[in-house]
């Protein structure tokens, strides 16, 4: 994969703008690009990401589908295998389950099953995550359900510039990529985004803040909160290193291990449930590779093991973390 350096000029965007701009460029620059999903055409996506795309590129390339996720991904797999570059959208990650077979059983295994004769250059975009009073069906994190699967890449960028660079990398990738967009960050998070086409390598984490006493690994919305907490702790004299995973699979083991070897303490923060979550894999990896660097037990600050995020505000607050809760977890581990 070629890594082009960002150009000098930038524009201030939020995450919705970044997705929209990247998709627009892909549609503009490559006639093989097709967008399909529920309400992506006439409605222009529920977050208005593909607004006016259908007018400009036509209903052949911006396809409104029925409410049938298995079909959305199934059709996209066929398109990808036969030479198109489909970008399928699952309107909310909460509804991705009907497409599980198409993603895990078909897309992820195409290259292996065909002995490399076919690949599946497919991007599946989907908004995920809570904190928006979305209750049971508009709040879930799904990454742990898919990260067990070899052959599938999973990205979860948190910043607009990363959204663009990684979405471009996902579109260029010859194999299926599940692209997760945290819906609370859509308009909350703004940042400078370089103009022009560039990619960020898949599988590279980003050290957002260097520190010496404690490493925190996170992704998605909680990266922003972890950064906020770390800055607060800096004022208290506790030096925290914050790593934005960006790419859930493949995972950047090197960056995590280097950081843990330096700080000797690891806190993993994610919105998904703790049991069997991404943090479990990071913990196991660090225990396998860097046990003798650890000066404290690895800690995971994650969602409780309850089936879903409640609608009632206190329940949502209880389920979700916050900068204050993350700061407490950091303090506790720093004290150990």
């Amino acid at each position: 994969m070629a890594v082009s350096s960002p150009t000098q000029t930038t524009q201030l965007m939020n995450n919705v703008d970044a997705v929209r701009a990247t998709l627009y460029d892909a549609m503009k620059n490559d006639p093989r690009t097709v967008i399909l999903g529920e309400d992506v055409g006439a409605r222009g996506n529920v977050f208005l990401i593909t607004k006016d795309f259908a007018k400009e590129f036509g209903p052949q390339r911006v396809i409104d589908t029925p409410i049938a996720e298995a079909s959305i991904v199934g059709i996209a797999v066929g398109m990808a295998m036969e030479g198109l570059r489909p970008i399928a959208e699952i309107q909310f990650a909460d509804f991705i389950y009907p497409a599980f077979n198409q993603i895990v059983g078909e897309a992820a295994k195409t290259r292996y099953r065909s002995n490399g004769e076919y690949t599946c250059p497919l991007v599946i975009r989907t908004p995920y995550g809570g904190g928006v009073r979305g209750a049971l069906s508009h709040s879930v994190s799904i990454e742990a359900l898919f990260y067990h699967v070899p052959g599938l890449k999973i990205l979860a960028p948190a910043f607009p510039a990363d959204v663009k660079g990684l979405l471009n990398a996902a579109i260029d990738d010859p194999d299926p990529v599940l692209f997760l967009e945290h819906k609370k960050t859509y308009r909350l998070i703004k940042g400078e985004v370089p103009d022009g086409h560039y990619t960020i390598p898949i599988g590279k984490a980003n050290v957002l803040k260097e520190g010496t006493q404690l490493s925190v690994v996170s992704y998605g919305l909680y990266v922003h909160w972890a950064l906020e907490a770390a800055q607060q702790l800096e004022a208290e004299g506790i030096s925290v290193e914050v790593i934005d995973l960006r790419s859930i699979r493949p995972m950047d083991r090197t960056t995590i291990l280097q950081s843990v070897e330096k700080t000797r303490k690891l806190l993993i923060v994610h919105e998904d449930n703790k049991f069997g979550g991404i943090g479990a894999e990071i913990s196991a990896m660090v225990a396998e590779e860097a046990l003798f660097s650890l000066d404290a037990p690895i800690r995971r600050h994650c969602a409780p093991d309850v089936p879903a995020m409640g609608y009632a505000e206190p329940l949502e607050h209880e389920y979700m973390s916050s900068p204050a809760k993350i700061a407490d977890a950091m303090r506790e581990l720093a004290r150990f």
Binding site: R264, L291, F292, S293, L294, D295, R335, F336
Partner: protein
């Protein structure tokens, strides 16, 4: 409430134990976790802690008597929980843990073997109990030591018990160890964790200056030597004496010695030691594992040397289990590397280091000492160049590694070269083998040792 105490099982394969000494008399009070009886099995002596606080009502087994594990040996009248809590404020376990986590600051020049007793030593300290509490303190300290702390402590030779922890509940943190390391080696000499230094290969400069002193927590087989008095025999001393006489009287010993050119072997060891040290987190690579490797290969070629004499005939052992004679300052123990023929040199290095560490901490279990089929004695660390060792009873032989010395040697092409030479001595049970087999074994061992060199694989 009366609590009946039974004979503990001091090892997986142990079925009985001997009451060596009652540390408490009937009517005396005993604290929970306080040693109240010394039990011996074979070569291991262990002080047994009381499971409850109370008064020793009755002892059911006399000193010197051997009973099956699980047999009641004493009855303790337990005191009420209120009394216990009044007496100590908190649970004794808690106190031991706290004491270890926040040890007193080291006095000037104090080293590991003279580690101060934990402050929670609330019982009147007799020497025996002192030692027991100290070990408990060490255990608790190690339990709280993170992998990073252990690794750094090994690397920098820091005794973490002597450090003031800055972590939660006084835990010693990795940073504490690094800070102590920067303060210089005098800050804390970690003899207890300098695994394997005592058997430092012949001539190898790895012995700490304190190595001649008794190891931390080691139970002496002697009492205090006062001129003009008789030191009473304790259980361990008595067993050693008995075993030596038995072996020397029943097995007709014959003796032989070869000189071995270990110049290349030494070079190999020199080349590997730093890498090994790094890979194992601070274990020292000595000549011992190389030697054991050569011995097990020679035993494979001469299975009669891995045998024992019985009235029915010569029993040839299936397994190759190598005993390592460890002469502690006041005791002799021979822990066994099981299936030594199945271990690489690296594996032997780790296994023997672990046993030696256990020996120095007085932590060998009966299972560590059982099952030896042949014995290796690193006799040269104090400069000995020849010795006639006594065979470990029930085995066919014992070999020694004597001191490695540089000597001018006439080489095969009649040149004179300075070579590192080491004598290897063999005592054999002449009932099992004759000189022909034994000298063949020694020649084979010599050939293997001389063939070892820097091109080998650990």
């Amino acid at each position: 409430m009366a609590t009946t105490i039974t004979m503990p099982q001091l090892g997986e394969t142990v079925t009985e134990g001997t009451v060596a000494q009652w540390l408490k008399k009937p009517g005396e009070s005993v604290e929970k976790y306080e040693a109240f009886v010394e039990v011996s099995t074979d070569k291991v002596n262990a002080e047994v802690p009381a499971p409850v606080t109370g008064t020793l009502r009755e002892v059911l087994v006399k000193e010197g008597e051997t009973v099956a594990t699980g047999t009641p040996i004493a009855i303790i009248d337990e005191v009420g929980a209120a009394t216990q809590s009044n007496a100590h404020g908190t649970e004794p376990t808690q106190q031991v843990a706290n004491a270890a986590a926040a040890p007193p600051k080291p006095s000037n020049g104090s080293t590991a073997h003279a580690a101060p007793a934990p402050q929670a030593a609330h019982t009147a300290p007799t020497p025996a109990r002192h030692a027991e509490l100290d070990i408990a303190g060490l255990e608790a300290a190690l339990r709280m030591a993170s992998p990073a702390v252990r690794k750094l402590a090994r690397e920098h030779r820091i005794d973490i018990r002597a450090l003031q922890g800055s972590g939660a509940n006084g835990r010693v943190t990795a940073q504490d160890v690094l800070t102590a390391a920067q303060m210089g080696p005098a800050a804390a000499v970690g003899q207890a964790i300098a695994i394997g230094t005592n058997f430092g290969a012949t001539g190898a400069p790895v012995m700490p200056p304190t190595h001649a002193k008794p190891p931390a927590g080691g139970t002496s087989t002697y009492g205090e030597p006062i001129p003009g008095t008789t030191i009473p025999l304790n259980q361990a001393r008595r067993i050693i004496a008995q075993r030596m006489v038995e072996s020397k009287h029943t097995a007709p010993h014959a003796w032989s010695m070869v000189e071995v050119d270990v110049t290349n072997l030494w070079k190999w060891r020199q080349r590997e030691k730093d890498k090994f040290d790094h890979e194992t987190g601070g274990l020292k690579l000595t000549m011992l594992p190389f030697f054991i490797r050569a011995v097990v290969e020679s035993l494979a070629a001469f299975p009669l040397m891995n045998a024992r004499f019985t009235d029915e005939g010569i029993y040839v052992n299936k397994d190759v289990n190598i005993g390592i004679a460890i002469g502690l300052a006041t005791n002799l123990v021979v822990p066994v590397v099981k299936h030594a023929d199945q271990l690489s040199i690296k594996g032997l290095a780790v296994a023997s280091a672990q046993l030696i560490d256990k020996a120095r901490r007085n932590k060998l279990g009966v299972d560590d000492l059982a099952g030896g089929t042949f014995t290796v004695n690193n006799n040269g660390s104090n400069g000995s160049i020849a010795s006639a060792p006594i065979i470990n009873g029930g085995q066919a032989g014992i070999v020694t590694m004597e001191a490695m010395v540089k000597r001018p040697v006439v080489t095969a092409d009649d040149a004179i070269a300075i070579r590192s030479m080491m004598n290897v001595c063999l005592s054999l049970d002449h009932r099992v083998v004759d000189g022909y087999v034994a000298s063949g074994f020694l020649a084979d061992l010599k050939r293997r040792l001389e063939a070892m060199g820097p091109t080998g694989v650990l």
